[in-house]
């Protein structure tokens, strides 16, 4: 009782601070800027926050932190908008939305996908803030149990979970490994060795995953649409199709809750970040689904869109738990938030609740307000966004290409990234033709460096002994889950083959066209 009374007191203090006109303005500015950052491919939340960080020097501490936090969680919804409308994920955590959400958009369900995502963001964001408020110190303590070996295994588990994307586990695994290989290209950050550069100097900095994502999703989509002259008619978007019906709401309710819980837990663990959370939540729902045929680029599952957005937003709230309670930033975005705290003379960590409790509770209260603001901003805007899907691809395609080319350049301000985006655009198109999924490649690129550094740390701690990965109960549990994740699809496939021995899968418009077996 005392705990809840204390919480209520603290929260009322937070709301009384956050509901001033000045802080409401900074919060709203943050979420709007976050959405813009999320919409633009090539500019991630950390870049957006970094660019705007100097602007916050002149703001009061609470205003600066509220604005940057707003960018942090506002960006994930912005990423959903481009993912659904043009199939280009604004952030790596929206990659799966670019598959299922975009497929829904192509069926005239862009409004439904965006509404489900907006409400999911609100539900999960609010759920995440409540969990953050109730359990931040305790959860951060659990997060500390995750040392380098546990994190390495968790990341490997995230990669193994994607192995069942697409039609074949081997193809998905190959793509994830290819992504990790691409991430290894360039200067090794520890020893300074040049890896796989073949003496070509632009490769010294390696491949950044954003130009690769832009190529594989954005440019490849433009190329695919140039295949046919008789373009598909513009998608008919009717007002009654903008909102999910009762059946659709029922379908997304459980995924919202499951993905919120999973997203928050993974968000708390420093390292994996919301990208792993979104992939895992998507995979959990895909495996639970009783409509497996709807998942993927041919139809698009509403549960997938709901799960990814809920996991993203709950994960963003979860990431604040170790930051506030221990001063540990678990992602680049929270690292910038940490620097904003420090710039304003506030040191996050165990003493924060004693020294600057008012700032923490104002931030938490502002996140409630920010989530409501995001919902109020986005739901009325859904019809407007969805009408963009009516523009024929003949006009939309070249505009997408323009954003892709400029977006690829802005990542590192180097022209080589434009070449990378174009090259991966062609590769992405060819990958579509030979059924190689792109999402595992991106996940491999994002998680590869993290996996390498955690494996390296683990083996350094253990003086090169591999038993560090099965010495503690937690690592044994994670290892068992990893083995299960890798072998389960094989067992399922064997069962499937036994029940339907020789079924040739034919799909896609083949009428009159050549197949690659010719």
């Amino acid at each position: 009782m005392g705990l809840f009374a204390g919480l209520a007191d603290n929260l009322s203090v937070g709301f009384s601070n956050a509901l001033t006109l000045e802080l409401i303005f900074y919060g709203l500015l943050g979420v709007v800027l976050g959405q813009i950052v999320g919409v633009l491919p090539g500019i991630g939340p950390p870049s957006g926050m970094a660019v705007l960080l100097p602007l916050t020097f002149v703001l009061p501490p609470a205003g600066a932190i509220i604005m940057l936090a707003g960018i942090h969680y506002g960006a994930s919804y912005g990423g959903t908008i481009t993912a659904v409308l043009i199939g280009v994920p604004g952030e790596s955590s929206n990659v799966m939305t670019a598959i299922d959400g975009y497929a829904m958009g192509k069926r005239g369900k862009a409004g439904v996908a965006l509404s489900v995502a907006a409400v999911g963001s609100f539900v999960a964001g609010t759920f995440g803030v409540i969990l953050l408020m109730l359990m931040a110190p305790e959860i951060a303590r659990i997060g500390l149990l995750f040392g380098a070996p546990e994190m390495a295994l968790l990341i490997a588990l995230g990669l193994a979970a994607v192995a069942s994307f697409g039609d074949s586990q081997a193809r998905s695994l190959l793509m994830a490994l290819f992504g990790m290989f691409l991430a290894a290209v360039g200067v090794d950050r520890t020893f300074g060795d040049l890896r796989f550069t073949m003496g070509f100097s632009p490769l010294y900095d390696g491949f950044h995953f954003v130009p690769v994502t832009i190529g594989l999703f954005g440019i490849a989509e433009v190329i695919t649409n140039l295949e046919r002259k008789d373009h598909l008619p513009p998608i008919a978007v009717k007002l009654r199709n903008m909102w999910p019906d009762r059946t659709e709401w029922r379908r997304v309710l459980a995924p919202y809750l499951r993905a919120s819980g999973l997203g928050f837990i993974i968000g708390v663990i420093p390292g994996p970040g919301v990208t792993v959370a979104s992939f895992m939540a998507y995979e959990v729902e895909r495996r639970r689904s009783d409509r497996p045929e709807e998942w993927g680029e041919n139809h698009g599952a509403i549960e997938g869109v709901a799960a990814v957005d809920a996991a993203n937003n709950a994960g963003n709230a979860g990431q604040l738990a170790p930051l506030l309670a221990l001063g540990l930033p678990g992602s680049p975005g929270t690292a910038i938030l940490l620097s904003a705290f420090i710039i304003h003379g506030i040191r996050p960590g165990p003493m924060l609740m004693q020294t600057n409790a008012d700032i923490v509770w104002t931030l938490i209260a502002s996140m409630y307000i920010g989530n409501v603001a995001l919902l109020l901003l986005n739901l009325p805007a859904v019809p407007l966004w969805a009408y963009i899907a009516r523009v024929p691809f003949n006009y939309l395609g070249p505009a997408i290409l323009l954003i892709c080319l400029l977006g690829a350049y802005t990542v590192n301000n180097r022209i080589f990234d434009v070449y990378v985006a174009v090259a991966f655009g062609v590769l992405g198109y060819l990958m579509r033709k030979v059924s190689l999924p792109a999402a595992p490649l991106i996940l491999g690129m994002v998680l590869g460096p993290l996996l390498e550094s955690t494996v390296r740390q683990s083996l350094t701690i253990s003086l090169g002994s591999w038993d560090v990965f099965y010495r503690r109960p937690l690592t044994v549990g994670l290892l068992a889950l990893l083995v299960l994740a890798l072998t389960w699809p094989q067992v399922q496939a064997a069962k499937h083959r036994r029940s339907r021995p020789s079924r040739e899968v034919m799909a896609g418009p083949t009428g009159g066209a050549r197949t690659d077996s010719d």
Binding site: D167, A170, V222, L226, Y409, G425, R432, K433, R514
Partner: protein, 172 residues
């Protein structure tokens, strides 16, 4: 005797043949490309970089694991083969022409950006796509060009003030 030996070999290879029989050209390309990339990567990781150094894992360990795993997954790929993959159609000659034109024009953007600036180079490619490749009607094409160019200028140059290549004449 020879025929009997040949029959024995054929019988021994029959499970592999059954697998490979279901393959398409693309599967073979994927397998060969993976073997080549992963093989070369594994070789460089193990011969040019340290696997385990004095202070812990060397620069070659992780890529060696990744490329080694890729070589192992190829076995899985051989076993799963083409039977699990969805067939997709290739475009007709006209479609290929449009794709080649678009890719060639887009690949020129980095070179052109050094002369006329990145935004102008990208807009030239967009114009080429609209007028030549998809042969869009003039008015909507001009509208698309103006709106997308204007928005791109506002966002990338005015709002984000990105230092983009402008070329010797200071174009955008």
């Amino acid at each position: 005797m020879t025929r009997a030996a040949g029959g024995g070999v054929a019988k021994a290879l029959s499970p592999l043949r059954r697998v490979v029989d279901g393959w398409r050209v693309s599967d073979l390309v994927i397998a060969v490309a993976t073997l080549a990339i992963a093989g070369a990567g594994f070789r460089e990781s193990t011969t040019q970089h340290e696997l385990l150094g004095r202070f812990g894992p060397g620069a070659g360990l992780f890529p060696a694991i990744v490329t080694g795993a890729a070589l192992f997954v190829i076995l899985l790929f051989v076993l799963q083969g083409a039977s699990r993959a969805v067939r997709s159609s290739w475009p007709e000659r006209d479609g290929i022409r449009r794709i080649v034109l678009m890719v060639a024009a887009t690949a020129l953007v980095p070179t052109l950006s050094g002369i006329v600036g990145l935004l102008t180079a990208s807009l030239l490619v967009v114009a080429f796509l609209l007028f030549i490749v998809v042969r869009a009607p003039v008015l909507p094409a001009l509208l698309t060009l103006t709106i997308s160019g204007g928005l791109a200028y506002l966002i990338f140059f005015r709002l984000l003030t990105n230092p983009m290549p402008r070329g010797p004449w200071g174009y955008f």
